[in-house]
């Protein structure tokens, strides 16, 4: 018997201060290349990444690359709507961008929650780790502690230039989103599940669970 093909579509935000490498990370992740010549993002840019999660599951990630200037605050917050997860990025060579991480996280949590009221999964990316200035990160335990305190599901030292840890970070985030979605099912009454949903291209996780 053929295994039902499961497809998920997730909107992911990529946020963080200006110039920390959000666009570079996305370009590396989606197009497998790097250039030091990216133009500043004004407003929002988009990318689509298709992951073959396991033999039966395809995950489509809609990546929203959001301009980092603090001034754009109110303007870019409308882009948060209906996101399922986020990366918050900082630049290990610029301590101020790390100081802004907590601010980005609080802002995100105050404007975006999952349907069950819980905050969305967020992974912290310490980018430009190839630059050798690991002052902030010489203590992994401290970072673990920081993530726990601020509700990040994980953190990674990344380099878009050297292609370090970007796929890993994404897998971590997607794993948490999938798990979150399964938690959501439990809170939904079983009689809401209607068979006609099989025709829907994007099957919600709870429906997938019913089938398997």
């Amino acid at each position: 018997m053929q295994v039902p093909h499961k497809e998920h579509l997730y909107k992911l935000l990529v946020i963080g201060d200006l110039g920390v490498g959000k666009t570079s990370i996305i370009k590396r992740y989606v197009h497998q290349n790097f250039s030091s010549h990216y133009r500043a993002t004004i407003g929002v840019d988009f990318a689509l990444k298709v992951l073959h999660w396991d033999p039966e599951t395809v995950v489509r990630l809609q990546l929203w690359d959001i301009a980092g200037q603090e001034r754009f605050g109110n303007m870019t917050r409308v882009y948060y709507r209906e996101a399922m997860g986020a990366f918050i990025v900082f630049d290990v060579t610029r301590p101020a961008t790390f100081e802004a991480v907590a601010k980005w996280k609080n802002d995100l949590d105050s404007k975006l929650t999952l349907p069950n009221g819980k905050p969305v999964s967020v992974v912290l990316l310490a980018n430009k780790c190839d630059q050798g200035k690991e002052v902030l990160l010489n203590n992994g335990l401290k970072m673990d502690q920081f993530c726990k305190e601020h509700g990040f599901v994980g953190w990674f030292e990344t380099s878009a230039k050297e292609n370090i840890n970007i796929d890993e970070a994404s897998r971590c985030l997607v794993k948490h989103i999938l798990a979150n979605e399964c938690d959501l099912i439990e809170s939904i009454e079983p009689d809401i599940v209607k068979p006609h949903l099989t025709s829907s291209k994007v099957a919600p996780c709870w429906w997938v669970m019913q089938q398997s």
Binding site: H37, R39, A40, Q69, F72
Partner: protein, 463 residues
Amino acid sequence: ISLTLLFSFCRNLLARKQNARLDKQNDLGWKLFGKVPLRENTQKDSKKIQKEYEDKTGRPSKPPSPKQNVRKNLDFEPLSTTALILEDRPANLPAKPAEEAQKHRQQYEEMVVQAKKRELKEAQRRKKQLEERCRVEESIGNAVLTWNNEILPNWETMWCSRKVRDLWWQGIPPSVRGKVWSLAIGNELNITHELFDICLARAKERWRSLSTGGSEVESEDAGFSAADREASLELIKLDISRTFPNLCIFQQGGPYHDMLHSILGAYTCYRPDVGYVQGMSFIAAVLILNLDTADAFIAFSNLLNKPCQMAFFRVDHGLMLTYFAAFEVFFEENLPKLFAHFKKNNLTPDIYLIDWIFTLYSKSLPLDLACRIWDVFCRDGEEFLFRTALGILKLFEDILTKMDFIHMAQFLTRLPEDLPAEELFASIATIQMQSRNKKWAQVLTALQKDSREMEKGSPSLRH
């Protein structure tokens, strides 16, 4: 020297070189078929070829192989084998039967006729191209004369005349572009070169004190903390390297780096209430390419002072939404089908318009095309920015209606790099900026009034 001029000069030079190369290839190509002169009728060609062939068969020793020519130009290798069909077989193989030789002769002739046709077509195309280029260059030359001798000396009386407006739409020649932009933008703020020098000196002082880590005690800037200012200057540094990076002229060490830095720095001192906002670096860069530093600063400050630019650069979200709402009125009016498709997919103007408006298209369109948009923007004002947006949407309507949300969003935030100028302007020209007898400004004012009343009436609705 105007850089734009330099660019167009290089482009012409390059085009000429390419043309010369093509001509050369053309010569070589024909040698492959013997010395067949260009523009002779095919009848005669085949006769001549026949003769050559007979000469060849009459002489058992091998004539110079066409391959010798091939060595000179490898591009023509595929054609070079054409005449091989006429060769005798090597001595160790049975000789070619007469009927096969005859067949080969025919095939060869056919091939030559076809090749000749192609060459003729190509020659015609090139001639047309050359004529077109001459025509364009001549019309630019004429336009420069008209702008310099007739329009600029009589700016006040002439600028809004029908004739000038039409010429304006064709694109302002790069050599007068800066002057026209300056005049059209005006200097409502009465900024002088001295004021620019003062603002720049102050900015430099700040950079110095920041780099030495000295403390600042400047009471006049109360309300704008040192941290804010530091952040602003830091952002400028970061963004300059990301402004037209492919041109390699604004980056550290590039010829225009200091100018761009100066204008943006001076502006944060001139308008600390606005400061530096992303997008500004692109606008300043385009002005620098067409004006001297001080004049670019004057144009920059006055341009940002226009109502639409002020709304966006101060990130007045409410007012921005009003602009988007006005845009949607004309969107629905001009492109109802696409409008419905966007609505269905939840593709709101803030997703694609923000980049276009903040950078005045200089980031999303090829630079020379963006300059042409600026030309008419200087003539028609903010309305033209939104008209351009509709022109772009209309140009790609068929493609867009077949796309889903993410592909539309990707497409619009990264427009095709080879977007053709004439097609875009033709598309823009068909956009009507009239909705139920209301013009852009009237629609905008009405919406502004509505949103103000809504704010007053139900403050709870405010975000």
